[in-house]
Symmetry: C3
Subunit: 202 residues, 3 copies
């Protein structure tokens, strides 16, 4: 699980930095920025753990996440004028985070013996809720609203996960492939400006 | 309990459809619409279960709700141009849903041995929170704000529930009467444009 | 613990009244006002208890809080035209409430055997979340956004709490001193218009 742990940390870092960037645009002070970074990083996993009943929630038990979030926030503030150069790799990290949180959420749902569809919903919430609450606190239009494919990529990855589960494929490989589906489908959708048609009533 | 289960499903359907209608007005794509439908339907019950500590929350354990929400969403999208004709029956379903969720919430509170006033608060939250979170996610003014009587009808039904509890009336009948009080008081209030005076400070 | 219980009640009263004042400005009816008062008072403690897994949450088990909130709301509505004279003492009560909720949150975290940093986060959330959710429901800019020092005072008080823990000082005194740090630092910051610099990216 070492590689997944590292990817999980990378996801946490990128969500934290995305929180810092938005909070600084709102001219918040250092603790406001730290709080937004924290909420963005742990929001999704917190909702997941609370709904399953897995409390105290994960970030309260493993201090690594708190240290990573605080360090990322401090570094992002120090290098605030250079971070625009990082925006492209940030998008990559953010997308890796979404891919990972989706699959981690699905697996936590399976551990709680929940139905596959519920697990996909749980994985999608884990991946998206941090960004939604960040945007609500910052008075931005929440991510699931925007043209960009976001939740859709998570749901797609979730279905791939359960399709592969029925095959003889190794479970680590199922993790990697379905996580990659989230990452690649979101990246391609943004690169080629693909979006699902909006359902406007005529 | 079969009749109540059917009414519960009707409530779920109507909340889902009300979510679909608002999400489509916001030009969301199909998964955005599905997520809003889901949140509107299960939001109130989820909050109730989390506060009591009844986890994993109800919709994670009984798949019926997920299937009903997905089917209602798909049907609402297919018949999107005809749904305006249904708006009147939607209001009815929505109000039935509120009436039901109020009493179901109260009874879950009683099972957890909570005080009647707390049970009324819990029932009101169960009935109203789905609509509130739908409106926050869609940047609408939350339902409890609007002129329309909404939470007030739930609180009224809750008091009737406990008044009747002190009598010798059969508990199924208490359920039906107090649920009906919610439904009728809201319907009459909307029909005759009755609202409580707003408490504006002079 | 009698003095702390009284201070806790004072905090509850002041948060309830601050909810009433904002809700009346939004021209809500009496039940809308009551709901906002309730959410403002119990929001922070509810989030804290849910994250720790201490359910049913506190206000569901001790009716004193419900009675205090309902009485404060009714009194605030009756004396609505005189309450402006109270605004100054309200700021004091509100600040006492924040100080108290911070330390109560920290101690609940310690009881759940959580790390000091996590306890500080928990205390800060307990103190601030009620105000944040009140502002979101009322479409106001959430408190943690505003120029005023708010979360910062809680975090400061939290660090003082753990610094004093390492000394031989009596634990009641630790409670009083760290709570006072929150109260005094916020009061001084507001009086002398001190705020941390906002982190605007150049």
């Amino acid at each position: 699980m070492n590689m997944f742990y590292i990817l999980d940390i990378l996801g946490t870092i990128s969500f934290a930095i995305s929180g810092v960037l938005i909070a600084m645009n709102k001219r918040m002070d250092i603790f406001g920025v730290l709080i937004i970074a924290f909420v963005t990083s742990v929001g999704g996993g917190t909702l997941r753990d609370v709904l399953i009943g897995n409390t105290p929630v994960a970030w309260m038990k493993d201090m690594t996440f708190a240290y990573v979030i605080i360090s990322s926030t401090v570094l992002a503030i120090i290098f605030k004028n250079k971070i625009d150069y990082l925006r492209k790799s940030l998008f990559l990290f953010d997308t890796i985070g979404i891919g990972l949180y989706t699959v981690v959420g699905i697996e936590k749902g399976l551990n709680a013996e929940l139905h596959p569809l519920i697990c996909i919903a749980l994985g999608t919430m884990s991946a998206c809720f941090g960004g939604v609450i960040r945007d609500i606190l910052c008075n931005e239009i929440p991510v699931i609203f925007r043209k960009e494919i976001y939740a859709t990529a998570c749901i797609l990855g979730g279905f791939v996960y359960f399709l592969l589960k029925f095959t003889a494929i190794d479970s680590d490989l199922v993790f990697i492939i379905s996580g990659s589906v989230v990452i690649i489908s979101r990246s391609l959708a943004v690169k080629f400006k693909i979006s699902l048609p909006s359902l406007y009533r005529d």
